[in-house]
Amino acid sequence: MENLDLKREEDAILFDPVERTGKFFYLTLSILIGIILLAIYAYQFQYREGLGVTGLARPIFWGVYITNFVFFIGISHAGTLISAILRLAKAEWRRSITRSAEVITVLVLFFGVGNILMDLGRPDRMLNIIKYSQFQSPLLWDVSSITVYLTASSIYLYLPLIPDIALLRDRNTKRKRLYQILALGWKGTERQHRLLEKAISFMAILVIPVAVSVHTVVSFVFAMTIQPMWHSAIFGPYFVAGAIFSGIAALIVAMYIIRKVYHLEEYLKPVHFNNLGILLLVMTLLWFYFTFTEYLTTYYGGEPIHMTIFWMKFTGRFAPYFWGMFLFCFVIPLPILSFKKTRTPLGTLIASLSVIIGMWLERYVIVVPTLTNPRLPNEAVIYFPTWIEWSIFAGCISFFILLYMVFTKLFPIVSIWEVREGREKSMAEVRERIKAYLPGIGVE
Amino acid sequence: MKLSRRDFLKMGGGAGVAIALGGGFLKWTQPPPPSKLLPPGVERWVPTVCGQCLGGCGILVRVIDGWATNIIGNPLHPVNRGTLCPKGIAGIQGLYDPDRIRSPLKRVGKRGEGRWEPISWKDAIQEVSNLLKELRKKGEPHRLVVLGGRYRGLMRSLWERFLNAYGSPNYIDNQFRWDGMPMEGVFLTQGIHTIPAYDFENAQYILSFGSPLLDSFWLPIHALKAFGHFRRGRPGQRGKLVQVEPRLSITGIKADEWIPIQPGTEGILALGIAHMIIKEGLYDKEFIAQNTFGFENWVDSNGKRHLGFREYVISEFPPNRVSDKTGIPIDTIIRLSREFATNQPSLAIGFRDRPFHQMAVGVLNGLVGSIDRPGGILIPKSVPLNHLPSFSKDSIGQKGLEKVRIDENHSGPFLMDHPYLFAKNSLSGKPYRAEVLFLYYTNPLFSNPHPEIFQKAFDQIPKIISFSPYMDDTTQYADLILPDHTPLERWQDDPLFLNNGFPVLGIRQPAINPVYQTRATGDVLIDLARILGGEVEKAFPWKDFKEVILYSLKGIFEARRGDVFGLEFDEAWTRMLQKGGWWDPSYKSFEEFWNLLQEKGGWWDPIYDFGERERIFKTPSKKFEFFSQSLKGDLHLPHWEESKKEDDEKAYPFHLNIFKTMALGGGRNANQPWLQEIAGHHLYEKWRTWIEINPKTAKGLGISDEDLVWIESPHGKIKAKARLYQGTMPQVVNIPFGNGHLSGGRWSKNIGENPYRLLGLKLDPLTAQPIQGITRVKIYKA
């Protein structure tokens, strides 16, 4: 009995962010808003003056915006995909982390798309993409699969939210109306639960291929041209791997912060970080494997046009970016993640931050050098982003954080009902499952 | 009302204003939808003559609603046959140059300060005539000096007539002589003072001594158009071009072979080649026997023996000597001489050099008989224009005329004027100072080597009046500006000739009404004469300059030669008739002639008479002279003068080579963005002045590509970007002309640097023009 209400005590902490708000929150909020305003100013300036205010020029037609696009879409693979995989794999430890993951996906997708739009010379003609869709264009493939992905993962985020929203509704706190509507009259009956479970696992199965497709087609934007070091068959898997890689990193960072700020040490335990750390380690190696094959094939192909770019990255103007990428994506995270001792929350945090930086650099190193070296000789043009591009980049990140914060203020960032369900049912379930695949257990 | 040039520009909306999208134009769509196809307003194509340089190309200006909207070549004009050079097309930007002078201007504030007050034409002309009357009253009309630049035709006669009537001997021709012009070499060998025609089209082998035919030949289109024909115009026959030059110019790039040579040594190379040709007996013995003088040793009337060309070069210019002067391998020299002698017809051309070096190049043509024959050097017939009628002068005028010219009458063997002596003398006051200076079509404060001397001279001249439509460096320095129409707005005649020697007369007519309050200088002169009255007025019995043109055109009509421009096959026909002694022009009356001229763009006489020796050889011997008797003194044979570098080689280790680009060949096109943007395409250079350095040299100096460097000569220094260019000789640095205007428009003022500020003032004893190519410089990081 008493250990029961003790538990209730515990879960209460999950409601705190929603119910109480400290001034630290408002402080960060205002800082973020400051940065966002700067970004907005920067963009309207660009909107009026044209893309001339960026560092772009012929032949380097794409720069930070496209880099960000690829980068953010990559991050978006954190949530939905991972949580889906874990769900289907019935990994019990997922219960307290899935939501924080799924939120990342839904939010960050907007910034991926946003960057593409901000990169347009004529954003006002955006709708032409629908009016005159030309489906041969990989951009169209992106548009489609990203839309699907966004809808799917929103639903996938929403479904598991319903029971918790219901909880909030019943705890007659503020915003009752909102919760009433969103709860869709959830009573928690057996039938509703069964339906929900079905729906969730259906979505889980659905989003995985969508997610994979998304980053594959993102890679196609490059791979479908005949530009040197873009026109590569492994770009699809390479990008997807990279995406999951950066995704997990992002998730770990998010979790770490939530854990600290909302004192959820009880829910986000070192073991979570350890497990995700192992996942990240796997991805690190996978990333290295892809990068290695990618560059090795180029090197052995030895086509001059490819090699100029190759050497530009290895020893030339882009060496700092390239080796920076290698440092952050591989050299730093690998050791940290390899040892249990360092696979602590802090350790994984450091590794993740490094991976995130590294992956941004990777995208940059894919986009810019190729464009810097067109096939025909061209006057030497050096691209460096202007303050406009930087502040818009900063704005995106701040805005993302802000939205994330707000979410935690509206909904529990850890799925309460799932955690409880875990406590109540899982023991039994797991025993059942183990019985199913191991001999000699369960004979009293 | 006083206002600075800036507000003045603003008044005219000078600041670039975004064009209202759409407006009269088809908006959005490209290509436009058929419905909107035919443009608003009627379109006219006006045939006239391009004024962007001296090429004299016929153009058709597309005029819609009174706006000139495009320029294409006039297909009937034999000079360019419907084609154009980049500058010609940019003529539109010369016409609509937003920084043009919009009305007569009177200086307010200090000289060169650039503060002006617009005044009416009446007042402007009044003011000038008062000045001139003053001078005459003082009995010093000779102190009126006209400095004239590059243009062709009757305007020159008009100026001289005006000066003669008024009473000044001082028309000073300030044209490109310091660059070295072909005249000098031709004069020494053929006694001719005019520029010859080079029959590129029919040559089989062209040996160019630093003549950048494709970069900026002084008649650009003549060379450009000829090149295509020379290379591929003749089925089964491909001409070979060899470019001898210290710098890999565009010409060098397009040539079949580029031979880098120590600057200033092509003279000796030419003689070395002559040596080999003679030694191997490859010269045209017949031609030399019949048409040349001074090849063999000879004895003059009073029994004095003279060394002939043959013996001289054989003894003086053996390949090994030539080789170590020029840095060109012996076997190359031998190969060149054989190629040149055996690929007939062959043509040697080199006018960027001092007289005797030009002569050295010239005699190569003599050796192979490339004189007055297809593919050789031709002396064109002149256009049979009427000379203006003679007139009587009053006593003041007479006295003034009899005064020595301010440049000391010392016209030298080459009958040249001497802008530099003019500058020096009007500074020193001997023989006298200039009181009033007219500037017509020339910009010495920018265009002349060592412009400072003119700056100084002008400081001493009380009144400077410019007729330029543009606020160029010198005009900026004037007291009064009477802006001329630009070429597309005025009447003018343009007599010239083709590479094959055919004389041509292009007619320049107004394509559109004047854009601003400008007036053709010709008309202004006639007005001035009228106001001055008396004999001066009588000397100008014409309403305007157009009448002057009509007057002298009668000469062509009466000469009963040639025909107005026609289609290719017509010409063939005309030619045939004329050969057969017939003359069957497409006009009967003068009116008809005049109308056709305006409609077709001009007149020409498509025949060249070979073998008219009295026309082509005006030397004492009436022959092609290897030994030039036209010169007094004891220098007669083409020889090589080692131009002793004026500055010590230690302190200034590099030879300065100044070159021109196709786009910005002269001083006048710098405010035309289309041309600024294509100036140095071999290095993607644009919108500035750059310095070409050999990469190895640069490495030695610790200079890398795009570094800002100082380039310093004993006479000045300029700062510019260094560009590493493999086509640079290790001990030479190249700088392009064209930019570095201290005044001009928004696209030229203070853009780039003017390399002429690096040059000294050593004058050539023969020509009294600054010697080029002897300046040395040092370079260091800025």
Binding site: P374, R375 | I19, F25, P32, A68, I71, G228, H229, Y684
Partner: protein, 227 residues
């Protein structure tokens, strides 16, 4: 059906750039001032590409005038999301500026880098605006533009021929650059007509195309330099 193509004889070409300026004048290409030019934002629908190889004094240098190749298999059009650039039935790769959203995908996809982007709003001084070519639209900031083979001239020629009630003759349709070329190095015409100058020249021994290995099937042919 016509298949328009161009032949450029590099042996005749003088690298004078009349073609470049002619194109500017004909097609209302924006004036990019000094500052922007230095950033590499000039627009040249046709451009002379310098190849300078080797070391002094053994240098191999060439110039190649490069308009749009009007490829028969243009990589640029496949990637355009809005049909703003397309291959028309006469083989001209056209550009619909009023539809272009300025994503610059085509510019990155074109292996010949012949597409240009308007980084700013094109501007002309008041004094010049009336001299713009009324047959060609003005582009706005944020759209891509490139050589159109002076397509508007074809339309005018057609119109003219129609009014005069006759068929289109080869000499009716000549792009501005070809018209200007002083050395007669450029040829233009119908590649489908086996007897046209261009198709004859395109079969010459010296004929080649840029990056033929990419399979883009350019319709601009070059005749190599030298004998």
């Amino acid at each position: 059906m016509h298949r328009w193509g161009m032949v450029i004889d590099l042996d005749k070409c003088t690298a004078c750039q009349a073609c470049v300026v002619a194109c500017h004048a004909e097609n209302n290409i924006a004036l990019i001032g000094p500052e922007e030019s230095m950033k590499g934002r000039t627009i040249h629908w046709i451009e002379l590409i310098p190849y300078i190889e080797g070391e002094y004094p053994n240098i191999k240098a060439r110039f190649i005038p490069r308009p749009c190749m009007h490829c028969d298999h243009p990589p640029c059009i496949k990637v355009c999301p809005v049909y703003a650039t397309y291959l028309n039935e006469e083989g001209i790769v056209a550009q619909i500026n009023y539809r272009c959203i300025g994503c610059r995908y085509c510019t990155t996809a074109c292996p010949y880098t012949v597409k240009y982007f308007n980084w700013h709003q094109p501007r002309w001084p008041e004094e010049m605006k009336g001299s713009l070519n009324r047959d060609v639209s003005l582009r706005t900031k944020g759209v891509v533009e490139k050589c159109t083979f002076c397509h508007h001239r074809l339309l005018r020629a057609r119109e003219k021929a129609r009014i005069e009630g006759r068929d289109l003759l080869p000499e009716d349709y000549i792009p501005a650059c070809v018209q200007a070329c002083p050395s007669g190095a450029m040829f233009f015409g119908d590649l489908n007509d086996p007897f046209s100058t261009v198709s004859k020249l395109s079969r010459e021994r010296r004929a080649f195309r840029l990056m033929e290995d990419l399979g883009t099937e350019p319709k601009v042919y070059y005749l190599s330099e030298g004998a």
